[in-house]
Structure formats: C-alpha cells, structure tokens
C-alpha cells in the first residue's frame, strides 16, 4: 500500500488514478495515524515552499515523517514540490526544508528566450542505474512545471538529469529517499513506469 500524504498542497486525484491503472494499492490521507502506519510514502505537492513546510510543521506531520524517513526508512518518493521539500531549503522561502537530502532548491536564472516556470515536456538522461528508473526507454520525456530546481551537494545522489538553460537534477535518490521534479502522474507511459517501479520497491 502506497500512502499519498495529503497536507493540503495540490491535486492528488491524478496520482491515485495512475496507481489504479498500474494496479498498485494506494490511498490518499491526511490522517496522522494512517501515515504513521504506512509502509511506503508519496509526498506530492504543488504550490509554495514555505506554505508546504508550515503545514507539515504545524500539523504534527513533521515528527512522523522524520521517523518514517530516517528511522523506519520506508521508501519515500517526493514529487515536484515534494522533491524540493526533501532539501535543506529553497530560495523561494525562508522555512527550512526536511533536509533528508544534502541539496538546496534554487530559482532558475532569467535567461533570454527561456520562460520561467519551466513548463512542458523535457527529455531526461539517466546518471546511473537504479530500481526507480529501471526500464525507462531512451529519450524518456516527462512533464515539468516548476520555477525552482534542486541542486545536489553530492553528485552520487543523481538519478536523472534534464536541461533548461542549465543542467539540473530531475530525479534524485539516496537510500530510501527518492525525488522526482516532474509530474510522473501526468507523463504517459514514462511516468507510469517510474511510479510502477516505486510501487515495486
């Protein structure tokens, strides 16, 4: 069972739809006890960094998430803003992130001809082999919508790279913690493969 954490940021219906299509059991919940019992967590998110961290910190979710991630070490996948929350902090706000991955979230620089947010389909390049990205076809493409990107402190945490004026980390993983900057749930068979891989971890 994959527990999709509902902390009030973003629409979660499409993530559930895709797990349904894959045939993986998943639930959406904001119930702390259910989250506490979860064997696998998906941290979604659309919106502002500070708003999300304030929600997580003020609802009692923070202590549970920290324990699941760092002590129980259940597989966790952060998507879009959910991936940025895994980092130490973001240029978008002043709140500290979850800090489970040594990385920072930075704003895309204003470059001529490149609109921010980075919105649309972009191809990714694998940085190494990993169960989360196993079986992704060459030239896999994903749907992105973001104005901030994750910069890892340790290159060995890289999974997928993408390019938008500058190279950035489109997917990351360290131990049981995983992140994907793109909306896998909106990325056809490519996203289905990745979420299916996560379901199989």
């Amino acid at each position: 069972m994959i527990t999709i954490v509902d902390y009030g940021m973003g629409n979660l219906g499409s993530i559930l739809n895709m797990f349904k299509r894959i045939g993986a059991a998943a639930e959406i919940t904001s119930d702390l006890e259910r989250i506490d019992r979860a064997s696998k967590l998906l941290l979604p998110g659309v919106g502002a960094f500070d708003g999300a961290m304030k929600r997580i910190n003020s609802t009692g979710l923070r202590a549970i998430l920290d324990r699941k991630a760092l002590q129980e070490r259940v597989p966790i996948l952060g998507i879009c803003l959910g991936m940025q929350l895994l980092t130490r902090g973001s240029e978008e706000g002043v709140e500290q992130g979850l800090g489970w991955i040594e990385a920072d979230t930075l704003r895309f620089p204003a470059l001529p001809g490149l609109k921010v947010p980075h919105m649309g389909w972009n191809v990714v390049t694998p940085a190494r082999r990993h169960a989360l990205i196993e079986g992704l076809p060459a030239e896999s493409r994903f749907y992105f919508v973001h104005s901030y990107y994750v910069k890892l402190a340790r290159e060995e945490d890289r999974l997928l790279r993408a390019d938008y004026g500058l190279g950035f980390d489109a997917a990351i993983a360290r131990d049981n913690i995983h992140g994907a900057q793109f909306h896998a749930e909106k990325s056809h068979r490519f996203g289905m493969r990745l979420l299916g891989n996560f379901a199989g971890l």
């Binding site: 659309v46 609109k115 919105m119 972009n122 056809h188």
Partner: protein, 261 residues
Amino acid sequence: MLRTRVIPVLLLQNESLVKTARFGRYTYVGDPCNTVRIFNELEVDELCFLDITATREGRAPNLALLADIADECFMPLSYGGGIRTYEQAEAIFKIGIEKVVLNTAAVEVPGLVNRIADHFGSQAVVASIDVHRTSFGKARVRTRAGTTDAHKDPVEWARELEKLGAGEILLTSIDREGSWEGFDTELVKSVTSAVSVPVIAHGGGGSLAHVREVVHVGGASAVALGSMVVFQKRGMGVLVNFPSPAELVVTLAPEIPRHDA
C-alpha cells in the same frame, strides 16, 4: 531541451464532442471519453477541454463527465467552460485536472483570476482570450463564446491578465477558428511580445507549416490544434489523429540560417 507543446483543443457541447468553424457551424465529433482514450494512446503533450455552450446556457462545469475524462488521461489537462466561482475551480482541481481556463468569468467576475492563482498558483490558471477582427482589421476581445464585445484590446487585456496572475494565455482567433487557413500570426506576435507568460496560439492551424510559422514567427510557446486533430482532412470525416513525434521534431526544429553561395 523543452519541446514546444502541441495541444489538441476539444470542444464540448455538454456531453458531446463537437468542432466549430468561426465559433459556429457545429459538427459532431464523438464521445469525449473514447476520444480521450485515443489521444492518450497517441501520447499527446496535453489536452484542453472547452465546453463552449456552458456559459451561454448558464450551466456549471459537468464534474461527473470531467472525472470520467481525468480517469483516462495521463497527460496534463485543462478545462474551461462555465467556471464562475473559486469553489468550482477547486472542485475541478480535485478531480485531477490541473488547469482551469477562464474567459468570460475573467472579464465578468472581478478578482476570480487573482484568487485562484493566489491559492493554487499561476500555473493552474489559463486565461483565454477570444479575438475577432473588425472589418477595419482592428483586434477586439469577445466573451460568451464570441457573442459579446468585451470592449477590450487583446494586447492590453493579456498584460492585465498576466498581472492578475494568469500563468498562460490561450489566444484564439475567432475568424480563423476551424478555417484550416493558418493562425493569425500577427495577432499572436502582438501578444507574445507584450507578455512574458507562455502564449498558446489557437485558431486556424491546418498544417504543420502553420504550426511552424506561429512558433517561429509568432513566438508562440505552445500551439493548440482543433480541426487538424479531429478530421481526416479539410472537408472530410472525423478521424482522431496527431502528428508523430518525428514529424513534430522536424516541424519545431529551430530555423537554420541559410548560407547561399
């Protein structure tokens, strides 16, 4: 690099899919859910659904139908038609549709664009501008599916919508819609050079050459196609189709400077 998005725009008349020409002359295209399944298999970049009679008939968005559509879609989705309130937008997001398209309500309901963008983010709000050229060639904004003069200039209105928090502009030429004659590139260029949010060019696309022109000359960030993706050819029957990835790569490839001897 980022691919220029090519987006089928599918017109709903409540629960039927239709295609119009110059906002009139309805042709029945088929069942929305079947069509969505085909576009899903064709792996299109994104889908946009517009219920073109909802506002005029005073109908709220058909959430049951939208939920059925969202269940079949594994690509980004936007919906417009009959949205008048924040709560309606919220209900649409909950279903799994991540962008709402506001046209008439952006003009008639002050604060709506702003309020939705503030809470759900600019990326969730597509402002739609329907433009008709007068007999003197002057571009004017129209609302209520093209039936009402909004007394606005499209460039100024686009600037204002960007300020209000719209994350994208869907710019439709009423005069070209369903015509297969090519986009109003001049109109598109006037808006793309005035705003920094992505502009989706819509209305008139009849060939890949048209798509190429409106991207390279008009500066469109994305292109919306109607007739081309639901009809076999101009004047022919219904056939749901989409250019292949290889065709799109060639179509959207950057202009290569010519070095004539």
